[in-house]
């Protein structure tokens, strides 16, 4: 590499190395789409109801909240952190906002959305402060807040249940209505996903999320406000979980304390299956959303195919393992190829 080549080495080798890397990462999103197509195709052949209007709508609705959480989670994972508390935040917000609405029907939807996001953001703030300013390992912190928030939720709920009849129809309409045949929920998710994707790709502060995950030490030396960005990632994840909680309430109407219990696993799986590296720095919110769609579709397909529904969790876990293993093997292959090119270039 560092030889005394008098002519600049041909850039061709470098460019093809880049194309190779590009290809590998695109391949992730393409292979997700391919997996979806195969899955949907096979299931539809086995049971034509799967592709009925209602079937598709159900899948989209079910994906929406998971994908929303996955978008927030990918911002956190990109910075080489993790937020395991999102599931319990959804539960807490769904219950408290339900409580808030059923207490007084005149309260508007906007205020509920704001309340939900605020509660979520507050949880995110606590996580973010502990991780970024107190430098406590993210896994431990969010595992801790997962249980604290869940405990608070159970304490507030005290075994009660929020019923759809107690909620204003406007909110339930948000959860189940549609515009031009497209349900609101996926619409909201897609808009947020696009905005996040655009921000992360095209703005300097967005790129800094990737930079931090790619190398925290280098980020610090480059003068990137690491703590502020990590805090922002947690705030975002918390706020989106808060919004997710409100949407959960809107979609299901009937809510007990343990909404979205255990979803943290599902969300992390969606993100990782979607190609966001758990070691940070790599991936996109589009991939994460596709990951969420795939997991949800698998769940629906299992039901349609009359497979024991208890398989779903096992399949989710297996898929997560498959995704990280494939990523790793590919990364090793690419590294090997790049290394060879380096030698040839000398």
């Amino acid at each position: 590499m560092s030889t005394v080549t008098t002519t600049p080495p041909a850039p061709a080798a470098g460019r093809s190395a880049r194309n190779l890397v590009d290809m590998v990462f695109r391949a992730r999103e393409l292979s997700l789409v391919a997996a979806l197509v195969v899955l949907v195709g096979v299931t539809a052949v086995a049971n034509s109801n799967f592709l009925s209007g209602q079937g598709v709508k159900d899948i989209l609705l079910n994906t929406s909240i998971l994908a929303l959480l996955a978008v927030g989670q990918s911002a956190v994972v990109m910075t080489r952190n993790i937020d395991l508390s999102v599931g319990s935040v959804v539960g807490l917000v769904a219950f408290t906002t339900g409580d808030f609405l059923s207490a007084d029907h005149s309260r508007g939807i906007v205020s509920v959305v704001i309340l939900g996001i605020a509660i979520g953001a507050a949880c995110g703030l606590i996580n973010g402060l502990l991780v970024s300013f107190c430098r406590v390992p993210a896994l431990v912190v969010t595992l801790g807040t997962l249980y604290v928030i869940q405990g608070v939720d159970y304490y507030l709920a005290h075994g009660r249940q929020i019923n759809a009849v107690d909620l204003p129809p406007g909110l339930l309409d948000l959860g189940n209505g549609s515009v031009l045949g497209v349900p609101y929920l996926p619409l909201i998710t897609v808009l947020i996903m696009l905005a996040m994707g655009f921000y992360l790709r095209s703005y300097p502060s967005g790129r800094e999320f990737y930079a931090i995950g790619s190398s925290p030490e280098a980020a610090l030396l480059a003068g990137i406000p690491v703590r502020r960005r990590v805090l922002a990632a947690y705030l975002l994840s918390g706020a989106l979980a808060g919004l997710g909680g409100v949407l959960w309430l809107a979609r299901f109407g009937t809510v007990v304390a343990d909404s979205a219990n255990g979803w943290e696993l599902l969300v992390v799986s969606a993100v990782v299956v979607g190609g966001v590296a758990i070691t940070g720095g790599v991936g996109s919110v589009y991939g994460a959303t596709l990951g969420a769609l795939l997991l949800t579709t698998i769940g629906s397909a299992l039901v349609v195919l009359r497979v024991n529904p208890f398989w779903q969790q096992a399949v989710t876990g297996a898929l997560l393992l498959l995704a990280i293993s494939v990523d790793r093997v590919l990364a090793l292959r690419v590294a090997r190829l790049l290394r060879r090119r380096n030698v040839r270039r000398v």
Binding site: C134, L146, I278, V315, R328
Partner: protein, 348 residues
């Protein structure tokens, strides 16, 4: 995952950090008092005294024996987890292995197998679960956090596949009593006695053998350990297998103790285990910790839970307390380090 959190670490690590034992002999005494495992032991005493004062039945032999027995599975798994965390790995799938083991015990018993056949089989399954974790971590070089989040879902899912949402009860009395009864002539339940034996063995292995030395070296600087000829991968594989095996065994005890096999047995136990290990002063980033500290941490969590239960505090609040303890246990040493650093900074 933990690397990110050390934002300011490059500066600190490059220099002889604040934790490096310096010649500041005058502060040595203070440093000793600030030692985390000492603090935890003190806290343990405070909880014990507070418990005896507020709740008359707390300090009775019967209650303590119950509290200890109730801790059995957590304590057992914490032994393996300590070694893993010292080596800078973590196993989040332990509670799921426990659940899978419980589900297997239930379904095989239901199918008419004898307990004598079931137990070894289930333990082998646990070892295989650990082996899968270990192979993914060591052969593919994946972070154990990601792997065990995946297997946490996978093994729990398999538990449901095995048993669905059924509950199998009615285990014969002679087996159930093994998990509950005291060792004759003592107030010590069998699982506790087993724990004491295993804890002594673990302490010796961790602190006085080459294997233990290797764990600390791997945890603080894996590459250097590898260059020193330590078989890093093999050792890690052994740890994961051990963790799976112990978790499966804990699943057997759990099932017999409650006399109920369910797929969701022990959900969330990994939190209590990790909390106990971290409260015990083991550094989540590896390379630091003592088994004595962990035992103090296990006891602290156990007594606290028992105390809350005696005072009729609901299980929800108990999980809040465990969660808070977990956060505090990792937060305090870091804050203490910052404070110590601040105090030393104005050097002459």
């Amino acid at each position: 995952m933990s690397e990110t959190t050390s934002e300011a670490a490059p500066a600190q690590k490059a220099s002889p950090g604040p934790d490096a034992p310096g010649p500041g002999t005058s502060r040595r005494g203070v440093g000793h008092l600030l030692r985390w495992d000492v603090l935890v032991t003190a806290l343990l005493l405070v909880v014990f005294l507070g418990g005896s004062l507020t709740s008359p039945s707390f300090a009775s032999a019967g209650n303590l024996s119950f509290a200890l027995g109730d801790l059995g599975e957590i304590a057992l798994i914490a032994l393996a987890m300590t070694m893993l965390v010292v080596a800078a790995e973590v196993d989040l799938s332990v509670a799921s292995v426990l659940g899978l083991s419980s589900a297997l015990v239930g379904s095989l018993w239901d199918a008419g197998w004898s307990i004598e056949t079931i137990i070894p089989l289930v333990i082998v399954v646990g070892a295989v679960c650990g082996l899968v974790n270990g192979l993914l971590v060591t052969r593919l070089g994946l972070p154990s956090l990601a792997v065990t989040i995946g297997t946490m879902a996978l093994y729990r899912g398999l538990a449901y596949v095995v048993l669905g949402d059924r509950a199998i009860a009615e285990f014969p009395q002679q087996y159930a009593s093994l998990a509950v009864d005291d060792v004759p002539g003592t107030p010590i339940p069998y699982p506790v006695a087993l724990f004491v034996v295993l804890a002594v063995v673990t302490a010796i292995v961790l602190h006085s053998t080459g294997f233990g030395r290797s764990l600390f070296a791997i945890g603080s600087q894996e590459e250097a350990a590898f260059f020193a000829g330590i078989r890093v991968k093999r050792i890690k594989l052994v740890l994961f297998v051990l963790s799976g095996t112990i978790a499966a065994f804990a699943g057997v005890i759990f099932t017999l103790r409650y006399g109920s096999a369910r797929a969701d047995n022990g959900v969330g136990i990994e939190l209590a285990v990790i909390a106990a290990v971290l409260i015990g002063g083991v550094d989540f980033d590896g390379g630091k910790g003592t088994l004595g500290g962990v035992i103090a941490g296990v006891l602290l969590i156990g007594l606290l839970r028992n105390l809350l239960m005696l005072n009729d505090v609901t299980t929800e609040i108990q999980s809040v307390v465990t969660g808070l303890l977990l956060i505090v246990s990792v937060l305090t040493p870091r804050l203490a380090a910052v404070i110590r650093q601040r105090r030393r900074l104005p050097a002459p």
